[in-house]
Symmetry: C2
Subunit: 121 residues, 2 copies
């Protein structure tokens, strides 16, 4: 949840603070930052942990890890949320590549993407 970040004000402050004029560490660590953030895994990993960083979503994937497959109404029964909220949560998990949907008549069954179990309690 990165809020307003007035970078323009911080530039010269950081240069003075960390001594860019004295051969400082600002360009060095900006390069390290760009190396990390420029890697293709970074935004994917960030979206993954953001998707998991909610109690009910982590609960859903943990239940999927145990049961293999659950429909939306079953997840709703377990989480005690409204169907609107469950639908929102599962869309977040699907967008992060953590779960897949399978339509079966009126029901939509969710399943953990293979390999997504790592770090799931």
């Amino acid at each position: 949840m990165s809020a307003a970040r007035p970078i323009q004000v911080l530039g010269e402050r950081l240069e003075r603070l960390t001594g860019a004029a004295a051969g400082g560490c600002v360009p060095r660590y900006q390069a390290l930052r760009d190396e990390v953030r420029g890697s293709p895994q970074f935004p994917l990993a960030l979206e993954r942990v953001k998707a998991l960083a909610d109690e009910n979503r982590l609960l859903a994937v943990a239940m999927l890890k145990r049961r293999g497959e659950l429909c939306a109404c079953e997840i709703q029964a377990a989480t005690r949320l409204t169907h609107a909220t469950v639908s929102h949560h599962m869309a977040v998990l699907a967008a992060a590549g953590l779960v897949t949907e399978r339509r079966d008549g009126k029901w939509i069954h969710y399943r953990l993407v293979p390999g997504a179990e790592v770090g799931i309690p």
Copy 2:
């Protein structure tokens, strides 16, 4: 970030909705929920992913994974945040058991906890 959840209203609605009177799935999936949430790993995993679910914190641990050890001012230079915000972020990571602190004179060096690299880009 679980906001207000009026469980009291949801009880009878869910019973009607999922058919607890018809032998329904509510008690079944409440038991599954309690099995998951009752496990000691669940709150730990939740705190871990919550701690990682911020762009700047994930950036910090990803840099620690590459460099092994960084002081607070280096993380500040890389993230371009104020020292107050960096201090807050590192406290969150330390509370989640992801990093350790080591004081060296004026500097505080942070290091990834062994085994915490999994899932870090």
